[in-house]
């Protein structure tokens, strides 16, 4: 402690470590020149360049510098603080330097990678950025972090495969967990599905053990027909309210939150005769028909891939639909003799099972509900008529088949062996679904033959992408976590922190962060659960020393800061002055910029530091 305090009074002794990042920076910025320049800056006593500052030799170089040159400020000029600041801060701490005496300068994402064709100017910019960093570093002050206890209870939002897996993992680690599911039963999207690819086992049979384990686990409290109504607080100390239909609200205190609200399939309204002609269904609706064993007898089934995805409505590829379509194509061929008995024991006689109207109604009801949920009202839909036929042929119209994964290329080959036809189309010539009398038809352009062809079909299955839940936006606002442009949740870092949100204490897994199959969902869920358990297992978190500070000598007690704080983190104290509730403050700085008396500033982002850093940008290189 005494050591840390003395840093404040000491004259700054700054060490600058400039990273080549292999050739990522070194290839576009003259790093040695920049390092030489850094040595000329005020209070810089040591500057060097490393091939990789984040590698062990780079880090030990920092530790050594702190000891050898008695550095009391460290600057690393490399990539982005959003991914690497914690590493370098920890390195400084391990060498006895308060982590708030560390400054990050971004010369990769903000310099070398965006100025790849102008080395001279990029080098100049890198020098400027480091000068700015030095200006900031000189004014840094060591900070003490507040320790906050973590409530050892979790909440998982969503009771699908991801949510259940996450809840089970957390519960198995010995922490109580609330599992909040909006529907009347657990299982999520998988409840729609017939069988699953690779294993070819029934979907409901597959998840049954999982559901049973979740139901039986003493640490899991299941809330069905429920949603998260309100969330207040911060990592370790969230006060949540779970709203249940027809029951009283449940209040709970939780330490961490896992978001696993899943996805829906895209409804291709207006595409390929969907909702216009009978027997045009989505891939999921087809699965439901299979599952309910209410498929009509089909002679000719066409799958159309990439409906509404990859630029048609949504920009992305939904990944799993190729594999799902291939699985269903094989299912149809294999079970031709037993078409209606998909998943039934061999020997079921096809013709004896009639086309049940009930299932159709269910499908229609489902479409209605979905539309209702998207619009927030009840919608209406026309009836779908399913007609009978005799012999079977399966065609998969695709832009490309993406059978990613270890086994799936083999499944694709298997489908070809079973004479499933794969016909390629391009966006210039989209297949067309239309009616000729009573017959559903597909017109398509055969890319190999360069010919327009037509084909009668009994059923068209549209492979539509997974889309984010329509109410994901509400949850995103409730939890203050970001939602991407496509309606999926945005993780903290696409590569390095795939199941964390940027906000501490909240994690994400499953299809609500992007299309994924069950295997991937389970993997992500286990990952998210283990991430969520870390603070609970540790028992406390260190809150960043990044909060407002009120100067009572300047405060006039006008209360404007209290009005603008979105977290209620300011209040009036006995003396009538503004006072910061450190644990609730998130450090946005709104009060600081608002305060009419300029009495509030932020630790580690003081006005003086920001001004010095920004002003240094305008100075000329010496």
């Amino acid at each position: 402690m005494a050591e840390k305090k003395s840093e404040q009074k000491e004259k700054p002794r700054i060490g600058v470590y400039i990273c080549h990042c292999g050739s990522n920076i070194g290839g576009f910025v003259d790093v040695p020149t920049v390092a030489e320049y850094a040595k000329t800056l005020p209070d810089v006593v040591y500057a060097t360049d490393n091939l990789y500052t984040c590698a062990e030799d780079g880090l030990s170089n920092i530790r050594e510098g702190i000891r050898k040159h008695n550095l009391n400020r460290v600057i690393v000029a490399s990539c982005t603080p959003r991914t690497h600041a914690p590493l370098f801060q920890a390195t400084c701490e391990s060498a006895g330097l308060n982590k708030y005496m560390f400054t990050f300068v971004n010369i990769r994402e903000h310099c070398s990678w965006v100025h790849m064709k102008e080395k001279e100017m990029a080098t100049k910019k890198a020098k400027d950025l480091i000068r700015m960093g030095v200006a900031r570093a000189r004014l840094l002050e060591p900070q003490e972090e507040t320790k906050v206890d973590v409530t050892p209870t979790g909440v998982v939002v969503g009771g699908g495969v991801s949510g259940m897996t996450a809840a089970l993992s957390i519960a198995d680690m010995g922490f109580p967990v609330h599992l909040v599911e909006r529907d009347a039963e657990l299982g999520g999207f998988v409840r729609n599905l017939n069988n699953l690819y690779v294993t070819e086992k029934s979907a409901s049979e597959t998840i049954k053990p999982l559901i049973e384990k979740v139901k039986a686990h003493k640490n899991i409290k299941i809330h069905l027909n429920s949603t998260l109504k309100s969330v207040e607080g911060f990592i370790g100390n969230y006060d949540i309210v779970i709203g249940t239909k027809g029951a009283e609200d449940t209040k709970a205190k939780v330490g961490t939150i896992v978001v696993a609200i899943g996805a829906l399939e895209f409804m291709p309204e207006g595409l390929y005769g969907y909702n216009q002609y009978p027997n045009v269904v989505t891939l999921t609706e087809f699965e439901i028909l299979c599952k309910k064993k209410t498929l009509p007898k089909l002679k000719n089934v066409a799958f159309i891939q990439c409906v509404g995805s990859r630029g048609q409505v949504k920009t992305y590829c939904s990944r799993i639909c190729c594999n799902v379509a291939i699985k269903n194509a094989i299912n149809i061929v294999d079970n031709y003799e037993n078409m209606l008995g998909l998943m039934e024991k061999a020997g079921t006689v096809v013709d004896k099972i009639p086309v049940e109207k009930k299932a159709t109604d269910e499908i229609m009801e489902r479409r209605r509900r979905r539309r209702g949920r998207e619009r927030g009202e009840e919608g209406e839909a026309e009836e779908v008529k399913l007609g009978p036929s005799e012999k079977i042929e399966v065609t998969v119209f695709n832009r490309d088949i993406m059978a990613y994964g270890v086994d799936h290329e083999l499944t694709y080959n298997k489908a070809r062996e079973k004479r499933v036809k794969f016909v390629r189309y391009t966006t210039d010539h989209l297949p067309k679904v239309y009616m000729e009398g009573n017959q559903l038809m597909i017109a398509y352009f055969h890319e190999t033959l360069k010919l327009e062809r037509t084909m009668p079909v009994d059923m068209v299955v549209l492979s539509t992408p997974m889309i984010g839940q329509p109410d994901a936006g509400e949850l995103s606002q409730l939890l203050k976590v970001p939602l991407g442009q496509e309606g999926f949740f945005l993780e903290a870092h696409v590569k390095l922190r795939p199941v964390d949100f940027a906000t501490d204490g909240i994690y994400v897994c499953g299809t609500c962060r992007g299309p994924a199959d069950i295997t991937e969902c389970a993997t992500q869920a286990a990952a998210a659960a283990s991430r969520a358990a870390i603070p609970m297992a540790k028992g406390y978190v260190q809150a960043e020393a990044l909060t407002s500070v009120v100067d009572e000598n300047k405060c006039s007690g006008c209360g404007t800061c209290i009005q603008v704080c979105p977290y209620g983190a300011l209040r009036k104290n006995d003396k009538g002055f503004a006072e910061v509730i450190v644990a609730a403050c998130k450090g946005c700085g709104c009060c600081g910029a608002t305060c009419p008396e300029c009495a509030i500033t932020m630790t580690n982002y003081t006005d003086a530091q920001l001004m010095a850093e920004a002003r240094a940008a305008l100075e000329e290189e010496v």
């Binding site: 982005t80 603080p81 959003r82 971004n106 990769r108 994402e109 903000h110 310099c111 990678w113 965006v114 100025h115 790849m116 064709k117 102008e118 100017m121 990029a122 100049k124 910019k125 400027d128 950025l129 700015m132 606002q477 203050k480 970001p482 939602l483 991407g484 442009q485 945005l490 940027a502 906000t503 990044l546 006008c558 404007t560 800061c561 009005q563 603008v564 979105p566 998130k586 450090g587 946005c588 700085g589 709104c590 600081g592 910029a593 608002t594 305060c595 009419p596 008396e597 300029c598 932020m602 982002y605 006005d607 920001l610 001004m611 850093e613 920004a614 002003r615 940008a617 305008l618 000329e620």
Partner: protein, 274 residues
């Protein structure tokens, strides 16, 4: 605006006689714009080298003083980047940013600096390409406006200094600070405020505060008459006098020696340079 037209015909050189390049400072919020700029880098979208960015946690951290100080120091342009409205990591932060930027632009305008030298953009963490477009566009826009003349033009410098001083005036900060809440939640009587009326009120207050600050800047260490001040400020003398009355009541300016029969006024300095 006049400044802009004048600048175009000029050959643009920097202080050392080299070819002038716009000096731009960016303030980017950690959660959206800074992340968007990161993604821009990861995706290798290229943009001009003129911008130097400072990371802040939220765009709402940027007080008008931080920005105006940069213009005072000769910045050619300042870019503020935040999350899209309703997407702010800190819920309502960027709504306050929007209000403050309006004040900053008004102050720049009053000081005779083209307000388009200040730009506010919402760039999300997933909009890497947008970030490169915004920076490219803004650089070109400032390039057309030409170099900042704050360092060469004494009157302009005084005006920008006055704008900076006005940006910390209690009245302006309190008004702008309460603006968002008054508009969305209403006042103590639960009345929602009329946005247009309130903006008019703020604009008038801004001009007043700017002119008063300008008087204080101009009369600092140099006693000046009302007529002289009016001429430099291009403000009618009766208005200058009214400001002086207010400033004298606040004990910020005092009467100095008369020049003939005309009184002069001098700024009262407390504790020297701040």
């Amino acid at each position: 605006m006049a400044e802009a037209q004048h600048a175009i015909s000029e050959v643009k050189h920097d202080e050392k006689g080299g070819v002038w390049e716009p000096k731009l400072v960016g303030f980017l919020c950690n959660w959206c714009s800074y992340a968007g700029a990161d993604l821009c880098g990861v995706s290798r979208y290229q943009y001009p080298t003129n911008i130097r960015s400072v990371r802040v946690m939220c765009s709402t951290r940027i007080s008008p003083h931080l920005v105006l100080d940069l213009f005072k120091a000769g910045a050619d342009g300042v870019l503020l980047g935040g999350c899209h409205l309703n997407d702010c990591h800190y819920i309502t932060g960027n709504f306050h940013t929007e209000k403050r930027v309006r004040l900053m632009k008004k102050l720049l305008e009053d000081a005779g600096v083209d307000p388009t030298r200040l730009r506010l953009e919402w760039v999300s963490a997933s909009e890497g390409e947008k970030f490169s477009k915004v920076v490219t566009e803004f650089t070109e826009q400032v390039r057309k406006l030409g170099p900042s003349k704050v360092k060469k033009d004494e009157t302009l410098k005084a005006k920008v200094t006055a704008a900076d001083d006005a940006s910390v005036a209690f009245r302006l900060k309190a008004l702008v600070g309460k603006e968002f809440n008054l508009e969305t939640k209403g006042n103590v009587y639960n009345n929602l405020l009329n946005k247009v009326e309130f903006e008019k009120l703020i604009d008038a207050a801004t001009l007043d505060e700017f002119e008063r600050s300008l008087i204080l800047v101009l009369a600092k260490g140099k006693p000046r008459s009302v007529k002289e001040l009016g001429k430099i400020m291009e403000v009618p003398t009766d208005k200058v006098l009214r400001h002086i009355v207010v400033l004298r009541q606040k004990n910020l300016i005092s009467m100095d020696h008369p020049e003939g029969f005309t009184p002069t006024y001098k700024t009262i300095e407390i504790g020297g340079e701040q």
